[in-house]
């Protein structure tokens, strides 16, 4: 955002800056009331923005027009939606199971039918697809590494048989290969977290007009 010029914007900028310092007083100093204040501010804001955007306005948007067009049965999902709130009353909690049943059914139905091709067959196909014609030794090495690595790593997750004999060696290799995967994941996590933190360091300077906004 450009450096604001109106008073409300300038006030907002400095309040945002102060709230940031209040949060970072926790790691940089210790837990204190300022941190708690800022944390509670965030939760209050988040809940309100969430409710405004989701439950209230989006429901009206999704259900309003069809009801206007005379599709009366759109009342049913609304009633089902509000039946969820019985989850909060121990005695009538079972009523909330009906909407949950639809959510769970749709969620698992879509999820299970969805994972079969991209997560299973496509992965097997990709593992056993040899490099294109004219590929060099490096490509063949990568083909062998990925195929053997995947086989051993999947074998590592065989959980109801003891890993004895040859399988023991394969699964040990499998675990190492999983560790290499997690290592790369770790490297990417560091990138993500540091990018986020650098954004805050930049903002710290921007408000003080040391860095350009």
């Amino acid at each position: 955002m450009p450096y604001p010029t109106d008073p409300a914007g300038i006030a907002g900028l400095w309040i945002a800056w102060l709230l940031m310092l209040m949060i970072y007083s926790y790691p940089l100093y210790k837990e204190n009331p300022a941190f708690r204040f800022a944390e509670h501010t965030y939760v209050g804001l988040m809940l309100a923005i969430m409710l405004v955007r989701t439950t209230i306005t989006t429901t009206i948007r999704m259900v309003g027009p069809p009801l206007m067009q005379g599709k009366v049965w759109y009342v049913i999902p609304i009633i089902l939606g509000f039946m969820m709130f019985f989850l909060l009353t121990p005695k009538y909690r079972w009523i909330s199971r009906y909407p949950i049943a639809i959510l769970v059914g749709a969620g698992f139905g879509l999820g299970m039918r969805g994972v079969l091709i991209p997560d299973i067959t496509n992965q097997v196909i990709s593992t056993i697809t040899p490099p294109v014609t004219g590929a060099g030794a490096v490509d063949w090495w990568n083909y062998i590494y990925i195929a053997i690595g995947t086989i051993c790593a999947v074998m590592y997750f065989v959980l109801t048989w003891e890993h004895r004999g040859g399988m023991g060696y394969a699964t040990r290799l499998g675990r190492w290969i999983i560790m290499i995967g997690l290592g790369a994941y770790f490297g990417n996590t560091v990138l993500f977290r540091m990018a986020m933190l650098s954004g805050r360091a930049q903002f710290f300077l921007q408000v003080l007009k040391i860095a350009p906004m």
Partner: protein, 270 residues
């Protein structure tokens, strides 16, 4: 490439999705068979998991040093959450085992529980464990420290590490970033640590800070090996057979790959 809805003569199954249907149906049949066998009393063993084997070692260490043991399932999810819930449930099963070991050796156990919905179950599990070891009087609800909210929870656990210096920490369950902080805190006081989670984003931190880690499905298997739930164990056996089938397919395909024979790939694309 990917199957589109091309209406073929006499075809019932959408093209390109046949293999997916085969995998789905085959998996379900296998799950059902082994769940059925499990319920009939057939024992399905879970392979030796080094982290589980290390639990008595960790508790023995605490007994030697005369210090307590800490357990926490992380704050990632509520029991009702379809991805985090099963992890917390498995963790609570493992807690039952830990509690029995602690009761037997007389080691003090502290449980940090940030999930309100899991509180009753935790209490029940601990009570049962102490009862099973014949020491119901040693159980007290004060062993369970309930702290809501991520940062108060973190502060409480770190403070506890400094004060009580637990000999062994169990960080098993559904974790968010608290895994880094607690893993580090436990390391600094020289605790023996056993971790476990199915959240990929926290696995690297647990591996880097813990002595033993239960990865992904291992967590569920460990939980089931203690709770002896025939449904979960039966499904695990079924999953394993499917994994063997996939492994066999990959080995065949890998060898065919050197000959550039696309037969298997074409079958999988059916």
């Amino acid at each position: 490439m990917v199957g589109k809805r091309e209406e073929e003569d006499m075809a019932i199954i959408v093209s390109g999705r046949g293999m997916a249907l085969v995998i789905l149906v085959l998996s379900y049949i296998l799950f059902y068979i082994f769940m059925y066998l499990g319920r009939k009393g057939r024992e399905i063993p879970v392979r030796t998991l080094p982290p589980m084997a290390a639990i008595p070692e960790g508790i023995g260490r605490a007994a030697e040093m005369g210090r307590p043991v800490m357990f926490t399932p992380g704050i990632a999810g509520d029991l009702n959450d379809p991805t985090q819930g099963p992890q917390v449930l498995a963790a609570i099963s493992i807690l039952g085992y830990i509690a029995r070991e602690c009761a037997r050796t007389g080691v003090k156990l502290d449980v940090f529980m940030p999930i309100p919905t899991a509180l009753p179950l935790t209490e029940e599990t601990l009570r049962t464990a102490y009862m099973a070891e014949g020491k119901p009087e040693e159980f007290s609800p004060d062993m369970i420290h309930f702290i809501a909210g991520q940062s108060p929870y973190l502060t409480a656990v770190l403070g506890y590490f400094q004060r009580e210096r637990p000999a062994t920490n169990f960080l098993i369950g559904g974790f968010y970033y608290e895994s880094v902080v607690m893993g580090e805190g436990g390391n600094t006081i020289g605790a023996f640590q056993i971790g476990g989670t199915a959240n990929t984003h926290q696995m690297p931190f647990l591996v880097a800070t813990c002595d033993y880690v239960l990865l992904a499905e291992e967590l569920y298997a460990a939980g089931a090996s203690i709770s002896k739930d025939p449904d979960i164990l039966g499904c695990l056996r079924g999953e394993d057979i499917m994994k063997f089938i996939l492994i066999a397919l990959m080995i065949i395909g890998f060898i065919l790959g050197f000959a550039r024979n696309p037969a298997l790939i074409n079958v999988l694309r059916w």
